[in-house]
């Protein structure tokens, strides 16, 4: 694992050409939080698109400002996206994101291994 960045709502790091985002437990995401995650993500990606592994199980609430931001700005420079969601709450947020987002190959997973298998197809 290379450099890990922590902000108020998440941890982000790059590992084997996959960008990992792990949301902290019981966080509320507003516009500022969404913007910070994007800023930190693009810092780690150094301008290159890559597959993203995103564990959203910790999210308690995401407001409409953050959702609108994630739908456009938050979907930039993503080759493919694996969302980890194993609770009804996380699945609800995932389904909303699926409707909002830009055209990015995205799939929902309850476990890490198949999610990583899906993302590996998009490396390089």
């Amino acid at each position: 694992m290379e450099k890990c960045i922590e902000n108020d709502v998440s941890y982000l790091w790059m590992e084997n050409d996959i960008l990992y985002i792990h949301y902290k437990d019981n966080v509320d995401i507003f516009y500022e939080g969404a913007r910070k995650v994007l800023e930190d993500r693009l810092l780690l990606q150094v301008g290159k698109a890559c597959p993203v592994f995103c564990d959203i199980r910790g999210i308690k609430h995401i407001d409409s400002g953050a959702r609108r931001f994630n739908a456009l700005e938050g979907s930039l420079l993503i080759k493919a996206l694996a969302l980890i969601c194993d609770t009804p709450l996380a699945r609800t947020f995932s389904n909303l994101y699926l409707y909002d987002k830009l055209k990015v190959p995205t799939d929902l997973f309850t476990e890490e291994t198949p999610a990583l298998e899906f993302l590996k197809r998009y490396i390089k």
């Binding site: 994007l38 693009l42 301008g47 308690k60 609430h61 409409s64 456009l72 930039l76 009804p88």
Partner: protein, 312 residues
């Protein structure tokens, strides 16, 4: 489902849906740390209320034949110990507390836990800097158990007033006034045109399925912003509506023309790429669908007040 805490959560969902059914979109359900099906429904109910509040009231269904006004929602006077000394009538209407129930109680006692922390921090900051006015989002607990998030203005009264050392906290919201817009606002003759039953004739509104088609067109434009926009007639037909409805729909849903919407989306994407990546501006220009970097630069400056190169 039979457990008492679940019954309580169901009751809150019911309360919120009743508020929505009555056209009141301000309230929210206080969320728990659970992540089960019921919690997912609570989260969705809050999101629906939030979206209705933003879109239905202000944008998507705004009625061009009505006028809208900003009105006071909540009003509090706090003493220097941040206890409530006076409330406006909106506090009873929206929070369901009588004034006497709140007098001399601390302001933070009617906030949700997150807002209590924010308020404590903000109050310290306001007192330290002696800033006369600040704004912040706070979520109020209502007496019925629902939450009411609101954008608050906090005014610190100066030494030169009889209320020195006190604070005024207000929130406002937009309401539809009873009277239609006055004559000068009508296009053409300057007089309202009456419909068959004496009602002013409004412009034809789009039906919900047509709005979805417009929304899907918007999504298509965002997904293909790197390419030139097809002719509007072709684009409209691709999504099963006509050019007129596409143009009208964009104005109604997004408050702008199709071309303005495309430019807005392109500039949002360009701003992120310029600010947070090292991708050459020439490449970004092509990625977001502008033909020339100087065109991007000009539009960028018009929207953000600075050029892309100023961010590098």
């Amino acid at each position: 489902m039979e457990r008492p805490e679940n019954k309580e959560r169901l009751k809150k969902i019911n309360q919120l849906l009743m508020e929505l059914a009555m056209g009141k979109f301000f309230k929210r359900i206080e969320r728990t740390d659970s992540k089960d099906e019921l919690e997912a429904i609570m989260a969705l109910a809050n999101l629906v209320a939030e979206d209705l509040n933003i879109n239905l009231s202000y944008r998507a269904h705004i009625d061009p034949d009505q006028s809208y006004s900003c009105t006071l929602q909540l009003f509090f006077v706090l003493n220097r110990l941040l206890k409530i000394e006076k409330t406006g009538s909106g506090v009873q209407k929206y929070l369901h507390f009588k004034e006497e129930e709140l007098l001399m109680t601390s302001f933070e006692s009617i906030l949700d836990p997150n807002s209590q922390k924010q308020w404590a921090k903000a109050a310290k900051e306001i007192a330290r800097t002696s800033r006369p006015e600040s704004t912040l989002w706070l979520t109020f607990r209502t007496n019925t158990g629902l939450l009411l998030p609101a954008f608050c203005s906090v005014i610190q009264l100066g030494v030169d007033t009889s209320l020195k050392g006190r604070y005024i906290i207000t929130t406002s919201h937009v309401i539809k006034t009873r009277h239609p817009v006055a004559a000068p606002f009508y296009e053409g003759s300057g007089q309202p045109k009456d419909g068959p039953k004496g009602r002013p004739m409004g412009r034809k509104r789009l039906y919900a399925p047509e709005k979805w088609k417009v929304r899907n067109t918007g999504k298509y434009i965002t997904d293909h912003m790197d390419r030139p926009l097809p002719k509007l007639k072709e684009l409209a037909h691709q999504f099963g509506i006509n050019e007129f409805k596409l143009k009208r729909g964009f104005k109604e849903l997004y408050g702008m023309t199709v071309f303005q919407y495309l430019k807005e989306q392109r500039l949002r994407k360009a701003h992120v790429l310029v600010k947070f990546t090292n991708i050459p501006i020439l490449t970004i220009t092509a990625m977001v669908g502008f033909k020339q970097p100087n065109h991007l630069s000009r539009e960028f400056k018009a929207k953000y007040g600075y050029r892309p190169t100023d961010l590098r």
